[in-house]
Each structure stands twice: as structure tokens, then as C-alpha cells.
């Protein structure tokens, strides 16, 4: 009897623990739909020594690459994992279809330090006596930073094989709503390590990363009206930087991190202002009796994109970041909002309404050409990955707010969802630097 009951309880306990662990680990689950028409075949061999740690590094690297939709992961079962380049039998990997092979040794060092010695091997060229190494790094890390190191390895592979930098070693911020509880959360780009940095019974909107990734600006309603705060992530301290009469909202960081553009309604309507990041030095940029909102800085800091209804419907405009004449940029449709410069400054993403549907679209600055990337109904808040390859946005599925991502060419699509919460207002942060 006693032993049966014990077993029963331990099963229940194990179930509860596994559910809790699952919640803590994968707060956001990411599902891919679609992929590039030509995927690069790559083999990721199990990393020697990785079994000593709870997170399997090679799995994290494979998941990152698979999620991008640009790679075909070669099945490595039955292959002997190489430990040194001399172990690599190029012909065997080529026969498996791989164009490149990633291998690594995870080596524990004194004092809790860990070295990850990583190599990327060309498995196409067989004409040379020894395997050609495409990349080789010794990455110093620690147990707490192992997942970050895996993301950095995925970024190296991504860059060597596609020619563009990766963005796996980055974080995203977003808002969850469950009942009346609103939370500002920060997670790794793969949805792991989600942490709540601010909780409120009132709404939170418009999180924006400082360019160095150490702070978040956001709008919170906990004082019964929208106020702009800047919170330092390492300390959790927050400061109200815009708390004027009326509404305070839409914070946007200048590329050097010294200034914020904000939207204030102290004169009646929403107008765009700039201020120093500590809230001093307020300067009004627009002077209209219309809505001017959603400012966003160009990567060189010279211009601001914004939304205005000065022409009778909400459209996207550009003006110098010190103020002055605004130029209208969008002309198709009667509702174009939320402009965000691409990281290279050559295009901008925005939300376009057509036939009652709100979709993510990208417009090229030179040609003016617009490409609609999504086919949902209620898309909002687009945010570029730091490498400009993906766009994260909020949408709705079965009456619930979810996050989704689309590649900048529209081919790869991902859906991110959280358990039993509405998720909204995503913001993709800058690349993380390694802190060994």
C-alpha cells in the first residue's frame, strides 16, 4: 500500500516538475512554416564533452539553423563524431549530402571556465589532402553562458555559409497578458530563458531596446495614464523619462543611445519630441494639429520615420531628426502605420491595411516598391532582427495574441506562442556580446 502510494505521488510529482520545467525552459515555442527554396545542407556533429552539461550545445545550434529555414540539417546518426580535423573523412560527409560539417570540443577549465573549441569544415572539396577549415574559434564561456555560446556558433555557421551575419545570439522583449496581469518579458531569440522584468495590473506597450541592449524603454499605464519609462535590465531600476500632462508614449532610441524620440499629447494631439535619454532637454519636432506618432530613427541617426494622419489618413512620412520638412513615403491604401528602418537603412517595414486586413509589408527607399510579406488579418508591431533577415511581429490566432516571424523575402515563416497568455508588442534586441 505504502509503496504504491509513494509511486503514485512520485509520478504526480514528476509530472508537475516536468510541466514546471517545460514552462520555465520554453516559455515561447517556435514553429516553422515554409522555408527557402534552396536550403544549404549542413551537418552538426555531436560536440565532444557536451554531455556533461544539461543543455546539449549541438542541439541548440541545429535548432537555430533549422528555424531560420535556410538550412537542411544532415542526419548524423551512425557517423563517428570527429574530435580533431584529422578525424574528418570528408568523403563520408559528402556522401551524406553535407556541404559543411560543424564539430566542437567542450573542455572544462579550472575555476568553472569552459572553452568551446569549434571548427567548421568544408566537406565538398576532396581534391586537397587535408579537410579545409572554413572557421575555427576557441570560445571561452561559463556554465551560465553555454546557451549564448551555442547561439554564437550558430551565428558563425550562418555567416560563413550564407554570407550574411546571423542573429541567434540576441534577445527579444515582448508583453504577455493573462487575465489582468501584464508582464514585460525578455527571452533569448529561441524563446528560452524567458524572464519577467516588469509586472503590472495595467497595460504595458511599446518596449524598445537601447542600442547596447542594457536598457528597455516602454510605456506603462500603472499611474492610470501612459508614461514612458526607461528600465536598466541588470538592476531592474526604472525611471519615468516622459511624464507630462496627457499621454506619453512611443519611445524610440537614437542609434548612439543618447536620445529618445517620444510622443506627447501635452498640447492636445500626439506630437513628436526628442529628449536626452535621461528625460532632460525636451524639444518639439512636429508642429501640426494632426496625429504624429511612432517615430523611428534611421541607422545613421539623420532621419526619423513616423506615422501621421495630416493627409487625411494614416500614412508614413520621413523628416530630419532635428525636425523640419516631412516627406510622405506611402501612397498605396488608406492605412499605413508603424514604420521601422531596416538595419541597413535601405528599406522599411510597416503595417499596411488592405481589404480590412492588416499585413506586414516592406518598402524599398530607392524604388518605392512595396512587398507584402504576410497573409494574416491582424498583424501589428513589426521588429527587425539585428541582421535584417527576419521580421518579428504580433498577430492573432484563434482569438489569442501570438508572435510570428517572417523572413525579409517572405519565404520563411515562424509562429511563436506562449502557454495560456496573450503575447504582443515584440521588440528584437541587438546582438549579444560574449562575456566570458
Amino acid at each position: 500500500m505504502a509503496s504504491t502510494r509513494l509511486t503514485f505521488f512520485s509520478v504526480v510529482l514528476a509530472l508537475l516538475l516536468s510541466v514546471a520545467a517545460w514552462n520555465a525552459q520554453a516559455a515561447l515555442t517556435i514553429e516553422i512554416t515554409g522555408g527557402a527554396s534552396l536550403q544549404i545542407p549542413v551537418a552538426i556533429a555531436p560536440f565532444a564533452g557536451e554531455e556533461a552539461y544539461p543543455d546539449k550545445l549541438s542541439k541548440i545550434v541545429m535548432d537555430d539553423l533549422a528555424r531560420s529555414g535556410l538550412f537542411k540539417l544532415i542526419d548524423t546518426s551512425g557517423m563517428t563524431p570527429p574530435r580533431i580535423p584529422a578525424d574528418v573523412r570528408v568523403g563520408d560527409w559528402k556522401a551524406k549530402g553535407a556541404t559543411a560539417l560543424a564539430m566542437a570540443n567542450v573542455v572544462a577549465q579550472p575555476g568553472g571556465r569552459i572553452d568551446v573549441q569549434f571548427r567548421l569544415i568544408d566537406t565538398v572539396r576532396q581534391d586537397v589532402a587535408q579537410a579545409v577549415q572554413l572557421a575555427g574559434y576557441s570560445l571561452p564561456t561559463s556554465k551560465a553562458q553555454l546557451r549564448l555560446t551555442a547561439h554564437q556558433i550558430a551565428d558563425i555557421i550562418f555567416e560563413k555559409l550564407t554570407g550574411s551575419p546571423g542573429a541567434f545570439a540576441s534577445r527579444i522583449a515582448y508583453i504577455t497578458k493573462r487575465g489582468n496581469t501584464h508582464e514585460l518579458q525578455v527571452a533569448d531569440s529561441d524563446g528560452f530563458n524567458a524572464q519577467t522584468v516588469f509586472t503590472s495590473r495595467e497595460p504595458i506597450i511599446s518596449p524598445a531596446w537601447s542600442p547596447d541592449g542594457t536598457k528597455l524603454a516602454y510605456v506603462a499605464f500603472d499611474q492610470k495614464k501612459p508614461i514612458v519609462y526607461v528600465q536598466t535590465l541588470a538592476t531592474g531600476k526604472r525611471q519615468a523619462v516622459a511624464n507630462f500632462k496627457g499621454n506619453n508614449s512611443a519611445p524610440a532610441w537614437s542609434p548612439d543611445g543618447r536620445q529618445l524620440a517620444v510622443v506627447l499629447s501635452r498640447e492636445g494631439f500626439a506630437q513628436i519630441y526628442t529628449m536626452n535619454a535621461d528625460g532632460t532637454g525636451l524639444k518639439r519636432l512636429t508642429n501640426t494639429s494632426n496625429i504624429d506618432t511612432e517615430p523611428n530613427w534611421s541607422p545613421d541617426g539623420k532621419y526619423l520615420l513616423f506615422t501621421s494622419d495630416r493627409g487625411g489618413s494614416p500614412q508614413i512620412y520621413r523628416m530630419p531628426s532635428y525636425g523640419g520638412e516631412a516627406v510622405r513615403l506611402t501612397f498605396e491604401g488608406s492605412y499605413n502605420v508603424t514604420p521601422r528602418y531596416s538595419p541597413d537603412g535601405k528599406s522599411f517595414v510597416f503595417i499596411q491595411r488592405e481589404g480590412g486586413k492588416f499585413r506586414v509589408a516592406v518598402q524599398d527607399f530607392v524604388t518605392g516598391q512595396v512587398q507584402v510579406l504576410t497573409d494574416n488579418g491582424l498583424d501589428e508591431s513589426p521588429s527587425w532582427a539585428p541582421n535584417g533577415k527576419m521580421i518579428l511581429y504580433a498577430t492573432e490566432r484563434l482569438g489569442r495574441g501570438v508572435l510570428a516571424a517572417v523572413s525579409s523575402d517572405g519565404r520563411v515563416k515562424q509562429k511563436l506562442s506562449a502557454q495560456a497568455s496573450d503575447v504582443r508588442e515584440p521588440a528584437w534586441g541587438p546582438l549579444l556580446k560574449a562575456k566570458p
Binding site: 497595460p203 506597450i205 499621454n247 499629447s265 500626439a270
Partner: protein
Amino acid sequence: MKRIPLYLLITVLLGACANEPTKTQAGAQVEDRTAQKQATTPGADTKPLLPPAESSVNPLKDPNNILSQRSVFYDYDSFDVKPEYKALVEAHGKYLASNPSAKVFLQGNADERGSREYNLALGQKRADGVRKILSLLGVKDAQMEAVSLGEEKPRADCHEESCWSQNRRTDFLYQGE
């Protein structure tokens, strides 16, 4: 329950302020009442049956009074106050103009579609439109503040027009409510 006496007190005070010319008469009435009271108090603790006071006394709460209507609704993408809401806005304008101590929050709202930040600005424009009409009716700036809740505080929660139409609105929220 505890709120009712407070309301009675406030509305009696408001009424007293609004009807200043009749103050001399009120003095006479007080005398009459005192006489009545003296006549009844020596006996047991009796109380007159009061009519349901709240609805008849507070015009803001009286369902038969237009002042109990507190919401202006809008067409999609629009911030124009439609003709059918002119009487409602005017009634609140007259009430505020004749009750200078009354203060009102004008809370603009938007439906969930589109950008949250644009909807915050749109709600502000809706609330500010009502504020401007009230201002023309003689309501002082210090009596009102136009704010926006954007799409963040929906009254109705579904994802279709039956709910959206209820969420595109400006609410009159009087101080103390």
C-alpha cells in the same frame, strides 16, 4: 451602500450652489423643519419614508436624464462626433458650465485593429474633439482633461464589429466616480 449618503451630500451642496437666488427662502424652510422635528422627536424613534433618493437627486445618475449617458461612439477610423451625440455632449457642457466645481475626465478609446500607438493617438484625438466642443459651451479648461486609453481597455472583448463598435468611444468620467 456607503456611497449613497456621500452622493446625497455632494448633490445637495451642488444644488445649493446652483440655486443661489433661492437662498433666502431656504432660510425660512429650515425654520419650518425645525418646528416639525421638535414636534416628532419627543416620541419614539420614527423616520419618514424617503423616496428612492439617488435617481431623483443626482442628475448624473438619473436614467431618465441624458447626463446619465456617458459615451460617445464613433465610426471606424473617425474622430467626428456624430449628430446623434450632439445633445449628449451639449447636456454635459451645460452641466459642467453651471457646476464649476465639477471635473470630468474625457477618456478616448479605439478598437483593437491596427497599431497600438496609432490607436492611442486616435483615442486622444477623439477625447480632444469632445473637449473642444465642451470648451465652446463655456466649460473651463481646468474642469476637464482629455486622455486616451487607446485599445488597451476594451469594454467588449470579442474580435468582430459588435464589440469593436462599443470600443470606439469617448467616456465622460466625473471626478469622484
